[in-house]
């Protein structure tokens, strides 16, 4: 069954890509950082952990690339599952390196994409990189801190191949 689902996901990817007339733009993590912005080194900021400044998120004002809003893109990355059932994942964080959540300080907000996918995708192993295709948006959510980040409504997920 997982193979079948994977196949369906692939077909959905192909169909959507052709429907949009022109393949989605392939982007990489560097493209999510605005040109000229000096990103705080996530390794370096590990020193002042626990302080009030970055309890919630390092580099709170990490800007996003506004031009990407509404564009159909595909981006490779690793999955940190948030929601799903025993078979599929419907909501996850896409991060640029595996273990982003465990061994090293997490990436700044403009290096995380919050992906939702309507019918979910089966993801066999969290160790494997995937390529997600969908419409990306730069969204502000109303919390205590006005915070901007990337959100994506994905239409397809495929295994990442070099």
């Amino acid at each position: 069954m997982p193979f079948f689902r994977k196949f369906v996901a692939l077909v959905a990817l192909v169909v959507c890509a052709s429907a949009n007339a022109g393949a989605p733009k392939e982007i990489f993590w560097e493209d999510l950082i605005p040109k000229g912005h000096v990103q705080i080194d996530t390794q370096a900021q590990a020193n002042h952990e626990g302080s009030e400044q970055n309890w919630v998120q390092p580099d709170l004002d990490a800007p996003v690339v506004k031009e990407l809003n509404g564009q159909s893109v595909s981006i490779p990355g690793f999955v940190v599952p948030l929601e799903g059932d025993s078979e599929v994942i419907t909501e996850f964080l896409l991060v640029p390196y595996f273990g982003a959540c465990i061994h090293v300080p997490p990436p700044p907000p403009n290096q995380i994409v919050h992906v939702t996918i309507k019918d979910g995708v089966p993801i066999e192993s969290l160790y494997d990189a995937i390529v997600v295709t969908g419409v990306i948006s730069t969204e502000t959510w109303s919390g205590e801190i006005a915070q901007v980040g990337y959100k994506m409504k994905a239409v397809g997920v495929a295994p990442f191949e070099l």
Binding site: E49, V56, L82, S86, P105, P109, G143
Partner: protein
């Protein structure tokens, strides 16, 4: 059609062995389907248990142990989280809600959870479904309890009933908190998760039933008709104190078992998780339920595969049993086949006849097996729900199960080809000159 009729008649003529073969297949089909259904449902009822929670925080232990003890009530936590840490973390920017959880007490073997009102508002099961009330409402006073659906069902509690909480877990306790009965004010709708088996009381009440609070207001009531001025003053004081407790449902416990966190944005999860895991003042562990559930599946996948392997082997054995009985009956049926040949049956008629027989046995075996499977599910569902917390989904066959059945049919047909081929060559060679 004629061949099917012949095959049926021939099978009916050998009722005993045919029926036995059929039942072997039926039972193996039942076994395979039950194992698969329980496996799939166990998995889904696990992953349906918690949803919409960004982090679970507890004392430092293993990821999976924290998940199991805090949400599934399997095993127990070895240590708690100090109230100070809880307050510090829940007041951080970006934290939308925090639900403290205090476990460890029980009522007739069912878990008692001390929590706050946010629990009813923010706790989510299966695909972000909120908890909803079948009857009544959430607790508003200190000694009020909200029951999970199954607690109310199995113990037969109604709104307004009084419940006594026992100290410690398990069915028997030597120390019941008899002096503080809880009034049932709400019953939750069934969710198919451990919530159904839980009694929810205000966090402050956990402290109250253990702590010194209980004997504070007793003297005041006993001496209520005493008109001594000084004592009246005391009485008023105590009364005020009680009212204060009624409003404050959280209180200030020394420690809690664990707590759940929700953030304004899921993007905060990674950073907060790291900060909690590196919290200097106390050894804490924060886990993301989605990630830890995945880890649990990966650990259990080997057991799953072994179970599946075993049930497939059982099906294979039953098919081999069918092969044996068909092959051994062939010798007895040489005369039958020879007579068929003499009345004009061609060798491939004989071949088809035997294949149809094996198909009939497997087909009937699958049907009877499915019927047995449903019977077993109906009988076992309650037991599994109450003992293992697995809610069985007694629905129509899923496409996966239909596929399993089809696979068994194909396997049965292929196995049937062997005696059919034997019979084909027998009928060519034997002719009618067989001597028995």
């Amino acid at each position: 059609m004629l061949l099917i009729k012949l095959a049926t008649k021939s099978l009916l003529n050998r009722k005993a062995s045919a029926l036995l073969t059929l039942f072997t297949i039926a039972i193996s089909v039942m076994l395979l389907m039950s194992i698969e259904r329980v496996r799939v449902d166990a998995k889904s009822s696990f992953s349906n248990t918690i949803s919409g929670t960004d982090l679970i925080v507890g004392a430092r232990t293993g990821d999976i142990q924290l998940l199991l003890s805090s949400v599934f009530r399997i095993g127990h936590a070895n240590n708690g989280v100090s109230w100070k840490s809880y307050q510090f973390i829940s007041e951080q920017r970006g934290v939308k809600w925090a639900i403290p959880m205090s476990l460890g007490d029980s009522h007739k073997g069912l878990a008692v959870l001390g929590t706050n009102k946010d629990y009813f508002e923010h706790y989510r099961v299966a695909k972000k479904q909120p908890l909803s009330f079948l009857q009544g409402h959430e607790f508003n006073h200190l000694f009020e309890v909200v029951l999970g659906a199954e607690v109310a069902n199995t113990l037969g509690y109604q709104l307004g009933d009084e419940v006594v909480i026992a100290h410690g877990m398990g069915n028997t306790s030597f120390h019941n908190h008899d002096d503080n009965p809880f009034k049932v004010v709400g019953i939750l709708k069934p969710t198919g998760t451990p919530v159904d088996k839980t009694l929810h009381i205000p966090l402050a009440a956990i402290d109250a039933i253990h702590g010194s609070h209980a004997h504070q207001h007793e003297p005041a009531q006993a001496d209520a008709n005493d008109h001594d001025h000084d004592h009246d003053h005391d009485h008023d004081h105590d009364h005020d104190h009680d009212q204060h407790d009624d409003v404050d449902l959280v209180g200030t416990p020394k420690q809690i078992t664990a707590f759940l966190l929700g953030f304004d944005s899921p993007l905060y999860t990674l950073q907060v998780r790291r900060n909690i895991n590196q919290y200097k003042d106390e050894a804490l562990l924060a886990i993301m339920p989605g990630v830890t559930l995945r880890e649990l599946w990966e650990m259990l996948s080997i057991v799953e595969k072994i179970l599946l392997l075993f049930s497939i082997v059982v099906v294979l054995i039953s098919l081999l049993g069918m092969l044996t009985s068909l092959l051994s009956s062939l010798n007895q049926r040489r005369r039958e086949l020879a007579i068929l040949r003499s009345v004009g049956a061609r060798p491939w008629h004989i071949f088809t006849l035997i294949s149809v027989e094996s198909l009939l046995i497997t087909g009937l075996g699958c049907i009877v097996g499915t019927a047995l499977f449903y019977a077993l599910m109906l009988l076992g569902a309650d037991y599994l729900q109450s003992h293992a917390g697995i809610s069985l989904n007694i629905a129509l066959l899923s496409s996966y199960e239909l596929m399993l059945l089809a696979a068994i049919m194909v396997a049965g047909f292929i196995v049937g080809l062997i005696p059919a081929t034997r019979a084909y060559f027998y009928s060519l060679a034997d002719g009618m000159s067989i001597k028995i």
